[in-house]
């Protein structure tokens, strides 16, 4: 197998649903082997449609899709062997045992029973579900169900793992442990594509990010380059002493939030270091400093809203969930 072939190659992909809705309008996308790739976009942008087409649950209208060089039009079964999909919704049989769900999935990929059981044990252990192996899946917590779907998707050891909102609805601790797990399998060679609403997740995990909006890819670049487009950020400064008024800082826009905090706009090229001297001179002691909004969220909102990143993008996260504490 030629290692230069993209893990996923999409060219001119379109999808029109029976009701006339044009979900994809000509998507071009390449994900290289070993990538940790985020596909971001607002609801209805076409993320799940792309995943559906790769996994065969959605039929494309036109365009090319290949997985590690295997064209889905010519040899979909071969392409499917290289893909593991973790869907957004729980879609396993709620009455089956955890172990059986994973072993059965391995069987659908033609894995012999003994190997299937070994793999099921391996991934259930790695995802902390081994002690639940005999439980009916409906008895699992939401986080456990999410991990079960990841174990099921990995049991045939695909080279490309696609996760559709993998940490939706899971608590912070579990989310962090899933991130660690995904980083680990990515370092071991599995190419990962994820869609997420937690933009902190994409910023933290992914080396490349594509943004899809209204069925078209509007950005496809490295996370670093994408974030470099940000030309201002808003920070919140908490002070030890109560503030009587908003501190005025030369060259920085400021706004009082409450008696112990204010926000400051830092533009590209300005240094955070330069903030502290004038504050200290005025007897204001900074107790903490934080980014008001996730940087990527700010950029994302400006991009999908059609403006430039430097436009007055709201530093709030309306429509998006906060990623972490």
């Amino acid at each position: 197998m030629n290692s230069d072939l993209p893990a996923l190659h999409i060219k001119g992909l379109t999808k029109a649903y029976d009701n006339g809705f044009q979900a994809l309008k000509g998507v071009d996308l390449d994900v290289m082997p070993g990538d940790f790739f985020a596909l971001l976009g607002p609801n209805g942008a076409g993320k799940s449609t792309i995943i559906g087409i790769i996994s065969s649950l959605v039929r494309k209208t036109s365009g090319l899709v290949s997985v590690f060089g295997h064209d889905i039009d010519r040899d979909f079964p071969r392409a499917k062997k290289d893909v593991g999909v973790v869907p957004q919704e729980f879609n396993f049989n709620q009455f089956e045992k955890v172990f059986d769900i994973v072993v059965t999935q391995a069987g659908y990929y033609g894995l012999p029973r003994k190997l299937a059981e070994q793999r099921a044990e391996k991934y259930l252990r790695r995802l902390g579900l081994w002690d639940k192996q005999d439980q009916r899946s409906r008895m699992l917590s939401g986080g456990m169900k999410r991990r079960l779907m990841i174990a099921r998707a990995l049991v045939h050891e695909p080279r490309l793992l696609i996760l559709d909102e993998p940490t939706a609805g899971v608590d912070i601790e579990l989310r962090r442990s899933l991130w660690d797990f995904l980083r680990e399998i990515n370092e071991q060679g599995t190419t990962i594509i994820l869609t997420t609403h937690y933009l902190e997740e994409a910023e933290s995990l992914c080396r490349r990010i594509a943004i899809i909006d209204q069925g078209l890819i509007t950005q496809d670049t490295t996370t670093r380059e994408l974030l470099a487009q940000l030309d201002k950020e808003v920070f919140v400064i908490d002070t030890r002493e109560a503030l009587e008024s908003c501190p005025q800082l030369d060259g920085y826009g400021t706004q009082l939030i409450d008696s112990h905090s204010f926000e400051v706009v830092v533009e590209k090229g300005q240094s955070l270091n330069d903030l502290f001297a004038p504050l200290t001179a005025r007897g204001i002691h900074v107790s903490s400093l934080r980014n008001k909004a996730n940087r990527l969220e700010e950029l994302f909102l400006s991009l999908v809203n059609g403006g430039s990143p430097s436009a007055d993008s709201p530093p709030t996260t309306s429509g998006l969930k906060e990623g972490g504490p």
């Binding site: 869907p87 729980f90 069987g107 659908y108 990929y109 033609g110």
Partner: protein, 257 residues
Amino acid sequence: MSAREQWIAFLTLMVKEIRRFTRIWQQTLLPPAITIALYFVIFGTLIGPRIGSMSGFTYMEFVVPGLIMLAVITNSFGNVVSSFFGSKFAGNIEELLVSPTPNYIILSGYVLGGVTRGLTVGFIVTLLSLFFTKLQIQHWGVTIAVVILTSVLFSLAGLINAVYAKNFDDISIIPTFVLTPLTYLGGVFYSVSLLPEFWQKVSLLNPVLYMVNAFRYGLLGVSDIDVRWAFLMLSCVIAGLFIFSLHLLKNGKNLRS
């Protein structure tokens, strides 16, 4: 997928299907056994002696083959329609659809699950019938072939019903308004020779009549129709349903958007 991988996928699906209906045996195996046992008691023991002989046999002897077929038909159909639609409704059919398992393996796995349940219930009912009458099978080959082909046919029909069904009402309409009338009017409880000539001809349009009579021929050696027609009809209908089912799976009817 290699032939070996396809074989493993087929076994996996078949075992999963068998495990499903045996896990809920109180819903799948016990009720038909009780229902048919009640038929034996009421029609065979209580009412049967007043009816007298039919086609040269006591009514109990005559009705046993029909009741076995009734159980086989309803359970083969019911197993596939409820399992496939249940998987579709819950979403876990996607486990199969995203895998490289070919459509004909998916179809065969579900059908074999339905056949296994149909034959299991048929065997239980046959055992129960021995409490009420003696069975001396006249033509083993015909008996076994007819019961298997009938079970395959209704398993395929169950899958087609499940593919088209969009809610639970849709999977009860066919059994209630099509399957039950065809079965009850298909010579389970009577010989069509008792009907006026017009209704005898109308009955010949009912495929279940051929299956029940062919099975009765295998068990008792008597039939209202030519058994060769039954085999021809069974083979043709099975081939047609198999091709149509594959077509539905390939096109992803109500399965892929």
